[in-house]
Amino acid sequence: MTRRFALVVALVVLAGFTVAGLAQAAPPKDPIGVVTIKKGQPIHIAYWMVVAGPDASLGTDTKRGVEIAIQDQGGKLLGHPIKLSGQDEGCNAEGGQAAATKIASDPTVVAAIGSNCSSAARPGAPILWKAGIPTVSPSNTAPYLTDPKRGPEYDGYLRTAHNDKVQGAVAAQFAIKKLGVKTAATIHDGSVYAEQLQAVFAEEFKKLGGTITSQEAVAPTDTDMRPVLTKIATQKPQFIYYPIFIAAAGHITRQVKEVAGLEQTYLMSADGSFSPDFYKAAGEAAVGMFHSSPDFSAFAAGYKGFLDKHQKKYGEKPIAPFHAHGYDAALMVFKAIEKVAVKEGETLYIPRKALRDALYATKGLKGLTGTLTCDPYGDCADPRIAVYQQTAENIKKLVNPESPFWKPY
């Protein structure tokens, strides 16, 4: 009997403490949920980027941008250390889904940075948002992701990369106004990124008075591009636009000169293959071809300091075009967390819905890529796209060209 009594007393006392504890903490209310971070625990941010396989340079580059942003914060935010964990999204839909599911299953994740490839974001972003995790992408450029018709499941999605409505148009203007070509063919690889980019290009090219001879497609794993190039050659376009990824773009670049009738054709790709890895894949065949990419010379003043830190930390120059966007994505997340986090004693509360709203409310944030202001659909970039030409010099050294060849502005 006394034992049972003791048990009851213990339970009552315990319950009392719990109630007292709750009353004291009073966490903020949030329709989705609140992340509680106790004293000494880290603020957990997850990246999902392509850090393995043939397109790994793209993900490694943005990941380094995020790491430098954390370093600039001194590794701490609001007195808590910042923890960065990551998943490989593989640059495809399945990989994006798997990476997002894995991140979504971890309740400590406050926000995510990624994905790199639009194909991965398409299934991945809704999975994260279902778990209340907003994600800021440093390099997705497919127009669909921030389209007004994209649907509420993408409400947690934002990006610091440019929308390809801009990039595709710049490529078309360059072809017509600078090179003076009249006919062009496009090749995509079935990815969301490439398919939409070449569609924007084709539309703008036709609007400016050019003719699209054919819009072809390959698989990203294809190696023998000669047949499809022969098919393109039957209509003798002056310009071939293939905004695809490194491996396939490398095969096309090498093989295009081997196909009769395409020896003099201008070649142009986009930021997805604007990387030293691509120069390795394409070799000397890439000399003279064009790439559209963010204009590094138009970046903010802080970019130079960033490059120095990058060189010091990783011993090389950035290996793909989106490191600064990665940095800015992390910066946006930090600012938004600072804005909405509630500190009660030693404990930090981060309301999820409020965090998402704060991200969308980003306005006039001075990042490396320019001044970031988010529109109601999550496009936050300050896009300045320029065209670069590859020279024998930079291909040999395996570095990106220094200054743009042509700017639309």
Binding site: P54, Q215, P227, A233, G250
Partner: protein, 399 residues
């Protein structure tokens, strides 16, 4: 008779072999009766009747599908040719591209078909055997490139690259058999299959660990670059080299299995392991040999692949491996000339097919459907010839 038609009947198969045994016992002097002979008992009768005399609904559906596909192909081809978008030169180009790609498939397919012939298993790790050679030999070629030997002595240095690649692939294939398959030789059929898939992943990630997750590009060999003219036909030099090298290797391999003592021993093992062992053939050694020959062919195919496409990475074997396996089935698995034919057929279909069949049907971006066409062709061949173009060459006992 394809395995699918035997139904769930381990029991039935058992029955049948007993039936055949009975048949053999009773009719010693006569040649073995065809399958489905009158000795078959009532319950196995339906199954054992010759294919020609029965027409099941499945057959009708299959033949209809086949007929529709053929009609579509013919229609598409005629429409394409009538439009005249491609000149004769283009078709010649397509054919040469297809031949070059096809000969690589054929060389890889050799490994699949020989292993199947001997062990009745699909060696899914063969694509990694294929990858290991050229990926390793890349470092040799890069060294020669840096030291300038590739420029001054292209033949000698390429011979070294070939040697290293073939040696690596051979070694990997040998170890694969020794470690992954030999202990499981008596296990049920599905076990080695799963092991093969496991070994495939294992090898992929071993090489990822060794050489990194990025990819490497073979140096350009100046002597092999650029087009040359064979009469009116314009070919790229390296395609010529690829086609000839592959043809030479396949011929050598075929002669080896047909003409040499070792080749005969190999064939005897594939015919009947127990009998071969009784005749004094070292079965284990012959099986190792099969894997090693397949590995050497894959290693050579790997360098040819690298000459054609330059890029190598740890995942490079997957797609060519899959295609080569398809080629082996297409030609009749277990059959060496079949694998050669299947590979070249597949390469040609992939190269010519999209333009020829789909362009006329008004399908945009036909090359995205390259693989779909290749596998449609496989379906088509298997509908009309369930055992592949040249037929499976298996000892009756094991079929």
């Amino acid at each position: 008779m394809p395995a699918g038609r035997q139904g769930p009947a381990g029991v039935l198969r058992h029955d049948r072999s007993r039936v055949r045994l009975r048949a053999r016992l009773f009719c010693k002097r006569r040649p073995a009766p065809p399958r489905g002979d009158h000795f078959a008992s009532k319950d196995t009768d339906a199954m054992a009747r010759p294919t020609r005399s029965r027409l099941t609904p499945t057959d009708i559906v299959m033949w209809t599908i086949g007929a529709i596909l053929i009609a579509l192909i013919l229609w598409g081809s005629i429409a394409t040719l009538a439009r005249g978008a491609y000149s004769l030169d283009h078709w010649v180009d397509f054919t040469i591209f297809g031949l070059a790609q096809g000969s690589i498939y054929a060389l890889i397919a050799m490994g699949y078909t020989m292993v199947y012939g001997v062990l009745r298993m699909i060696n899914f790790a063969h694509s990694e055997v294929f990858m290991s050679g050229p990926y390793t030999a890349y470092y040799v070629s890069a060294y020669f490139h840096r030291s300038g030997l590739l420029e001054t002595q292209p033949v000698l240095s390429m011979a070294m690259v070939f040697l290293v690649s073939m040696a690596t692939s051979t070694l990997i294939a040998y170890l694969l058999e020794l470690i992954a398959y030999r202990p499981l030789r008596t296990a049920p059929r599905l076990v080695p299959l799963i092991t093969a898939i496991g070994a495939s992943f294992f090898l992929q990630y071993v090489f990822r660990g060794l050489y990194g997750s990025g990819f490497q590009a073979y140096p350009v060999i100046k002597a092999l670059e650029g087009p040359m003219h064979l009469g009116p036909v314009r070919v790229l030099k390296f395609q010529l080299v690829v086609i000839f090298a592959a043809a030479l290797l396949m011929l050598a391999l075929y002669q080896f299995t047909q003409r040499t003592r070792l080749g005969r021993a190999l064939r005897s093992v594939s015919e009947d392991k127990e009998a071969a062992a009784l005749m004094g053939v070292d079965v284990d050694r012959m099986i190792s040999m099969t894997f090693m020959i397949g590995g050497a062919a894959a290693g050579a195919a790997g360098v040819l692949y690298a000459i054609m496409f330059k890029q190598v990475h740890f995942f490079m074997g997957f797609i060519p491996g899959l295609k080569a396996f398809t080629a082996a089935v297409l030609g009749g698995i277990g059959n060496i000339p079949g694998a050669m034919l299947g590979g070249i057929f597949l390469g040609l279909v992939e190269s010519i097919g999209p333009s020829l069949f789909l362009d006329g049907l008004g399908i945009t971006a036909p090359y995205q459907l390259k693989d779909a066409i290749a596998f449609t062709m496989l379906v088509l061949v298997l509908i009309f010839r369930p055992t592949g173009i040249l037929g499976e060459r298996l000892a009756v006992k094991k079929a």
